[in-house]
């Protein structure tokens, strides 16, 4: 009997310990340590609604360095902490950011003259001038910076020369010749290698942000690795950064448009697992969470559920050298036509949209129209009977009695394997062709794809910039991304002409025409336009979720 006492004493000591710990926690912890739905309860109670936002974020951002950043995590945080000449609004149109107005563009479309706002300041109070842009472009292109997105800045005249320069002296010489110049403190002149019709909107992209030389320079490779090594001129400051745990943003009073920034504090908790994230969201410890496909199924109809369309297309490539049968247009068409895309979306990729072309919904055409609205449905339609016919004809043309054994390669995570299974089923059912599914880790898939080591590959492409060219120039003959070895003279001509013309109308028309060629020949077989399901608490207003680049835009967000 007495031993019970001992045991209970031991228990009591343990409990007391945790209680003590709990008490001391109340001094320094925020609402995260009071999980009992406090976020929901307290917000409506204090009617003035604290302008504070707590979000779950799925990844630790790599270095928050303008030159080096390449992930959407970095785009998102740096988009809040700093700013470019322009900032995209909710309609994805560029609004003047650090620039005072839209650029003056020369008649040949090559020279952009941009006036900066007067009295711009970095968040430490030092002046921000046109020279900071010149330094930024030069640094990004320097091979020693190891910037993977340098190719975009290389569209500036002389950019390729800087990237290819061998010695430090060559780099310096090439940088001097680079087509970006600070005429005075508030006038920036950028000269391009060839016309880029969407360049104004591109100037809002992270890689074109300014960098403060006497801040970034001394830090060297350590730049952007801690809160005190990040500087910007945007709506928020990076107040603290506990790696792999959380980032805290606070309003930047020195921002030129501070009057229109409503949020005073944003906490980004790094939560890598979706289920954990949803638990935190449900317990009130977070106002924002991205969902997995299964979670989306369970939450369908929930008023806090938002579907965020992305500029991402899932599609198939047919390797024509490894499988000569795929050189035959009819066989490719048969494979494409035998897929019920609506069925794919309904059974596996809920929330996404069946593709109607390669360039996804929402992508602009470079002439301020939506590409799909102009191009319409360019996809080979689902038609099992016709597909069978085409396959028979195609095989006859090639002198084959039956389709050679082929396999389809794809990612082995999330919905990847299920998509493969679905496609294999469709081809067996609608074409009578047995295809072997071969799922593999993402890195292997990409590696094999680039080495052209596949029969059919299920792949994904996301826009780097909002223009059809990011989709269509990869199928030029000989392009490193044309992994299927497809070649079409008319297509090449249309794209090359579009790359050089200054006539935006003609360019857009060429690109629409080129996509038509690509799809009529079933050179590739688009499957779906991806959407991401997200949960956002209803008190959060005007949280913009752009379809590419940063995952969300906080400048205009407020709490109701």
């Amino acid at each position: 009997m007495k031993f019970k006492k001992i045991l209970s004493t031991a228990m009591a000591v343990t409990l007391a310990g945790s209680l003590l710990a709990a008490c001391s926690s109340n001094n320094n912890s925020n609402k995260g340590s009071e999980p009992t739905g406090s976020a929901q309860a307290s917000a409506p109670a204090s009617s003035g609604a604290k302008q504070e936002l707590v979000m779950n974020y799925r990844a630790e951002p790599p270095a928050l360095d303008v030159s080096i950043a390449e992930t959407s995590a970095a785009f998102t945080v740096l988009g809040a902490v700093s700013e470019g000449l322009y900032r995209l609004n909710k309609d994805m149109q560029p609004e003047p950011g650090l620039a005072s107005a839209l650029p003056e563009i020369s008649a040949d479309g090559l020279t952009y003259t941009i006036k900066l706002r007067d009295g711009l300041q970095w968040s430490d109070g030092s002046p921000l001038t046109a020279k900071d842009f010149v330094y930024s472009f030069r640094r990004t292109l320097d091979p020693a910076t190891k910037a993977t997105y340098a190719f975009i800045v290389a569209w500036v005249k002389g950019g390729e020369d800087v990237m290819a320069a061998k010695s430090a002296d060559d780099v310096k010489a090439a940088q001097e010749k680079l087509g970006v110049e600070a005429k005075d403190d508030t006038t920036l002149v950028i000269t391009l290698e060839r016309p880029v019709p969407f360049f104004t909107s591109l100037l809002s992209f992270l890689t074109f942000y300014p960098q403060k030389e006497d801040f970034v320079g001394p830090l060297g490779e350590k730049g952007g690795t801690d809160a005190d090594k990040v500087i910007g001129a945007g709506p928020f400051l990076l107040k603290s950064w506990d790696h792999d745990q959380k980032l805290v943003l606070e309003k930047n009073d020195k921002y030129w448009d501070a009057a229109n920034v409503k949020l005073t504090k944003v906490t980004l908790n790094i939560v890598k697992d979706n289920s954990t994230g949803l638990n935190l969201y449900d317990s009130g410890a977070s106002d924002f969470q991205v969902l997995s496909g299964e979670q989306y199924m369970n939450l369908k109809g929930n008023p806090e559920l938002v579907l965020k369309p992305e500029l991402v297309t899932g599609y198939l490539n047919f390797q024509e050298t490894k499988v000569p049968a795929f050189k035959n247009q009819k066989i490719r068409q048969a494979f494409s036509m035998a897929i019920d895309r609506q069925g794919l979306v309904d059974t596996i990729l809920q929330g996404s949209v069946p593709s109607t072309g390669f360039v996804p919904l929402g992508n602009l055409d470079g002439d301020s129209q939506e590409f799909r609205a102009v191009a319409g449905d360019a996809q080979v339609a689902f038609d099992p009977a016709k597909a069978k016919e085409l396959l028979a004809e195609g095989l006859k043309d090639e002198g084959l009695t039956q389709m050679p054994k082929v396999s389809i390669m794809g990612d082995d995570h999330s919905t990847g394997p299920k998509v493969l299974e679905f496609l294999v089923g469709q081809w067996e059912q609608n074409l009578g062709v047995k295809v072997v599914a071969s799922p593999m880790p993402h890195a292997s898939r990409v590696d094999n794809e680039l080495k052209k080591n596949y029969d059919i590959v299920s792949s994904l492409w996301g826009a780097d910039y909002n223009d059809p060219m990011t989709w269509l120039d990869m199928y030029l003959t000989g392009s490193s991304l044309n992994t299927q070895d497809w070649s079409n003279a008319k297509y090449d001509e249309l794209i090359k002409e579009a790359q050089t013309t200054t006539d935006a109308k003609k360019r857009a028309a060429n690109l629409v025409e080129a996509e038509k060629v690509l799809l009529e020949e079933a050179a590739i077989s688009p499957l779906y336009f991806r959407s991401i399901p997200v949960m956002v608490k209803s008190k959060v207003q005007d949280l913009i979720q752009p379809p590419y680049g940063p995952e969300f835009e906080l400048k205009w967000t407020s709490i109701k």
């Binding site: 007495k2 031993f3 001992i6 045991l7 031991a10 343990t14 945790s18 710990a21 709990a22 001391s24 926690s25 912890s29 925020n30 995260g32 340590s33 999980p35 739905g37 630790e60 790599p62 270095a63 360095d65 080096i68 390449e70 091979p143 020693a144 190891k146 993977t148 997105y149 190719f151 990237m163 290819a164 490779e221 952007g224 690795t225 790696h243 792999d244 745990q245 959380k246 908790n269 790094i270 939560v271 890598k272 697992d273 289920s275 954990t276 994230g277 638990n279 935190l280 449900d282 317990s283 410890a285 880790p441 993402h442 890195a443 292997s444 990409v446 590696d447 094999n448 780097d464 490193s480």
Partner: protein
């Protein structure tokens, strides 16, 4: 003794060297490269320039010698996933949480496990014994990837008693530490029970009883103190297990630990992180095994270390 220690240290270094070398070359067999999808965005020429900047254009044996040279100078390189952050600084940052979580769970395990074991032994073959051992069996049978999400969902969300995740304050520590402790509790409880039963039949307990000591004093002063010794000797390896085995619990409760770093390093081909973490974990294991062996020799005179004949 000194000779033995020196010998063991040399073996440890050889072990580490073999592990690092094997990891280095196996890792290079992984498909892909540390640049991931960025490779698709770049022209092949620009990609070659980028690879050359990291020295990845050299033959693998050269990369190996360069890497080993750096390691010998204490330079473990810079992570590819987190440009600008050295492998050492990532380990320093993330190991804190893993270590803390491990130690806290160890405290849970010891307090509950020993208590449960002692209680079971004292209630030998009675209901209390069966109950305690049933709890222990359940503890060891339910893996942490089952219990952690259940705890997070029911206690964190449905009941709202504790935070469902994150690593902000002391309250955030309780559930992950407990989830991690469960398996260890079971092991310790069973060991403690066996050890207590063994001790309770020894002569000095009978002597104590015949002297008329209260049973409370017998248990506290004689039984537990003696029974706990063998349990203490396995605490070293258990502690290492707990500290290095935090991956699942870290993921479920969003703890910023080292376990998930290892996984992401491998999936993103972060070469320097993979080798750096391998060295780190291997060194912990090797050193603890070494210390445990030494400790055995010191505690238990029946174990003779080599060279002391």
């Amino acid at each position: 003794m000194l000779k033995y220690v020196l010998q063991r240290i040399i073996y440890m270094i050889i072990t580490l060297w073999v592990i690092v070398t094997a990891t280095f070359f196996l890792m290079k067999l992984l498909p892909g490269n540390p640049f991931g999808d960025a490779q698709m965005k770049m022209s092949p020429e620009n990609f070659a320039i980028l690879k050359a900047q990291y020295g990845l254009d050299k033959p693998e044996w050269q990369q190996y010698f360069i890497y080993m040279g750096n390691v010998l100078q204490g330079n473990f390189g810079v992570s590819y996933q987190f440009p600008g952050r050295s492998v050492v600084s990532v380990i320093q940052n993330n190991f804190k949480a893993s270590l803390e979580l491990g130690l806290e769970s160890l405290i849970f395990s010891i307090a509950i496990g020993l208590g449960l074991g002692a209680y079971a032994a004292l209630k030998h073959n009675k209901v209390g014994d069966y109950t305690a051992m049933f709890i222990a069996i359940v503890g060891i049978s339910i893996p942490s990837f089952v219990i952690s999400p259940l705890l997070s969902l029911y206690i964190g969300v449905k009941l709202g008693w504790l935070p469902a995740g994150l690593w902000d304050g002391p309250l955030h520590r309780i559930m992950p530490a407990f989830a991690l402790a469960l398996g260890t509790i079971a092991i310790l409880a069973r060991m403690m029970r066996a050890s207590m039963l063994e001790v309770s039949s020894l002569d000095y307990i009978k002597t104590a009883k015949s002297k008329g000591l209260s049973s409370r004093a017998i248990v506290l002063r004689h039984m537990i103190r003696n029974a706990i010794l063998p349990v203490v000797t396995i605490l070293g390896p258990i502690a290492v297990n707990v500290i290095t085995g935090t991956l699942v619990v870290e993921t479920v409760f969003a703890v910023p630990g080292l376990g998930s770093q290892f996984v992401t390093a491998i999936t993103s081909n972060d070469y320097t992180m993979i080798t750096g973490l391998t060295i780190f974990y291997a060194a912990i294991l090797v050193i603890v095994v070494f210390l445990t062996d030494i400790a055995y020799g010191l505690i238990d005179p029946r174990i003779r270390l080599a060279g002391r004949r």
